[in-house]
Symmetry: C2
């Protein structure tokens, strides 16, 4: 976990020389003349597209600091190791859901992986008003399969404990979530920023002790609940899609955490896409907003159906064993319902918190940030903040995604500020 | 984690030769002529008292199998490593609560520690009708301090994650708890046994799907909630007392787990002592039973008072930071209440499960086992089983220990079978 003197950041000029002998890369792109582009638009890493005579590949390399902030915020290179390990587990738990990995170099914190084409970052597609067929089913399955198959519902207990120990080494990256997501929105943290005009809404959030308690209870579960391996950063910027194909990328925030974490953060990002649409769409606004809400509803219906299906077919771990239920002539469906109730509670709480942090903390999202006029942006963000607070306060009693979509429609026509 | 060829179990004959040069031991007992007794009456280990010219010491050595069952049930020696690490943390988090450690030999799975005298195992004292002054305050403080100081309420997040990773290596011993405690009571597991006459009560427990769901939800929290470092086996056989001094021993079941786990298991063992008393006492029955219940109530009042005090004075971790509460002019006491509510829910659920497993699974406790006549034993165990079920079913709404004590009094005068 110490600085590695052999590490050196790649550049578009040094990459061909330094990686020219990596067989797994030349097998993909062919040897000889390579074109190299640096396309990392995220907050943390270098991302290169390598184009050779036979094809393309992605080279992703961790930087030893937060790119968004600069070298004043160091960040360990070992996150590439955790990203690699997360990708291999996600590929096993939901085959085809993540890019194919061709090569991993731990010393250089570098992963060579499949170049997805013509995939684009889903967040951009949502801003542009594009639809993705099969998106909800893909995401619902991904969340259900990774949640179920990374838990003691499915895994052997010793394997799970070994995995928890392994990923507990991913310290600094989850620590970003711990502060930026769960805590910073609720006080005047140094790196916070917000659109002018939101001050009255922010004041209401910070005055709400009950809300802050619920957010911190969610943080407690985030840091000390190892139910399953979570992606940890599953927003629309971590999904790449074509018109009808999607993949999940960038699991460097991986950790063991609550089963509801990923789906909760995911839905928050769809809700923010929803609330931001009036600034991005024309005549098709209502239709497109309806489509976004239908994605949220369908993510959940797929998630629950897939989770119930795995419950019946793959419940081989120590939790809720058949010896206590089926073998005694008892249906275990009510037990599955109880587990899903806990997942919903965690998910909607995280959802609300994510909706807050993306407008109030560091690392805002483009759905709102691309709205240049703050007098247009602020009222839309205010609706988003208010629904987020609603969700946190009432997460325990929300019956399902349809109820959340109804509330979103309500706020979408309400002038909060 | 593999078998260690250098390991050799000590005997009373080989111990003086093999440990005669261990300075930490000779410093305690003096050199020269030693008397060695083997006194291990537990289920897992060798325990020697070494008496020399200057004093006494305990030598505890792990055996590579479950002593209670024999070498057909192997158990890794590395548990001594985890016991040693647990003892050092408990000593730091609640000074004076555990025996002083003089020496640790990882290869021989051996700990040399303070000989406690005239301490006796608390369970024997409870069977014999002896009182221990200060017991409740000692145990309430121990549970509160270890719970609080081993959590992110107090610990720095990276230290906590490193500790979670370390103790995740303790696999086989917690696995005993996972099956014997949480699951085996609720089906006809191979190693189960019970007193004849309990069959109708057992049938009621196993027919109660809701109860089994709640027990398995508690198992899920036990295996995937790393709130704090728990002792993991805090029953009256893991406490040694004089008339007015107590220590906690034997933390080899250590793991990170729910903050309510230890206090819940502890209270179960006091409740079993309570229900078994009619078979052990004469004229002093009512008085002594009242004293046991007063211990339960006082353990909780001390626990909550100490937890609240630490909340105010030592809340230096990432959870519920002052920036969100005190610094904004908001009292954080309601947040502490919310955390305590969760602890109570977990504790009373575990309490009920422990009351079940000690009568139905492997490893019964002497409180009941010492009652030779099964026609006397069964009705007392039945009361215990019924209160246990009550606690599991209602754990979320129990207001406090006084309410549990009232229910215990009720069952104490009820003929269940």
């Amino acid at each position: 976990m110490t600085a590695n003197p052999a590490y050196e950041a790649l550049t578009i000029d040094t990459l061909p020389t330094r990686l020219g002998q990596v067989a797994a890369l030349t097998a993909q792109v062919g040897g000889g003349d390579w074109q190299v582009q640096e396309v990392g638009d995220g907050n943390l890493n270098l991302v290169f597209i390598v184009t050779g005579p036979r094809g393309k590949a992605i080279v992703k390399q961790a930087l030893p600091y937060v790119r968004l902030v600069g070298d004043s915020w160091p960040l360990p290179l070992y996150r590439a190791f955790f990203e690699y390990n997360a990708l291999t587990r996600q590929a096993a738990r939901d085959p085809g859901s993540v890019p194919v990995i061709h090569h991993f170099d731990e010393t250089q914190a570098l992963i060579v992986m499949e170049f997805l084409e013509p995939h684009r970052i889903l967040r951009r597609k949502l801003i542009d008003g594009e639809r993705v067929a099969g998106l909800a089913a893909f995401l619902g399955r991904f969340c259900a399969r990774t949640a179920f198959r990374g838990s003691e519902l499915s895994m052997a207990s010793p394997d799970k404990k070994a995995d928890v120990a392994l990923f507990a080494g991913n310290v600094e990256i989850p620590a970003i979530t711990e502060s930026l997501v769960f805590t910073d929105p609720y006080y005047a943290a140094e790196m916070n920023s917000h659109t002018p005009g939101l001050e009255p809404v922010i004041a209401r959030l910070r005055a709400d002790v009950d809300l802050k308690i619920r957010a911190q209870q969610a943080l407690q579960r985030f840091v000390s609940n190892t139910e399953t391996m979570v992606h940890g950063d599953l927003h629309s910027g971590s999904i790449m899609s074509t018109a009808d194909d999607s993949r999940v990328i960038d699991p460097e925030f991986v950790q063991y955490g609550p089963m509801g974490f990923d789906i909760g953060m995911l839905c928050a990002n769809f809700l923010m896409a929803f609330f931001s649409q009036p600034a991005h769409r024309g005549d098709d606004l209502a239709d497109y907003q309806d489509w976004i809400l239908s994605v949220i509803a369908d993510v959940w219906s797929t998630f629950e159906a897939e989770f119930r299906s795995l419950w019946q077919s793959e419940r081989t771990g120590i939790l809720f064993p058949a010896t206590l239920f089926e073998d005694q002539g008892h249906d275990s469906a009510p037990a599955c319902d109880a587990v899903l109730t806990g997942i919903r509670r965690d998910a909607w709480t995280v959802c609300g918190i994510e909706m807050h942090r993306r407008c109030l903390s560091l690392a805002h999202n483009a759905d709102f940030e691309d709205i240049e006029d703050p007098t247009i942006r602020a009222p839309l963000e205010a609706r988003n903040l208010m629904l987020g607070a609603d969700l946190i306060r009432t997460a325990e009693t929300i019956t399902g995604a349809e109820e959340v979509c109804d509330r979103a429609r309500g706020y979408n026509t309400t002038d909060v500020i």
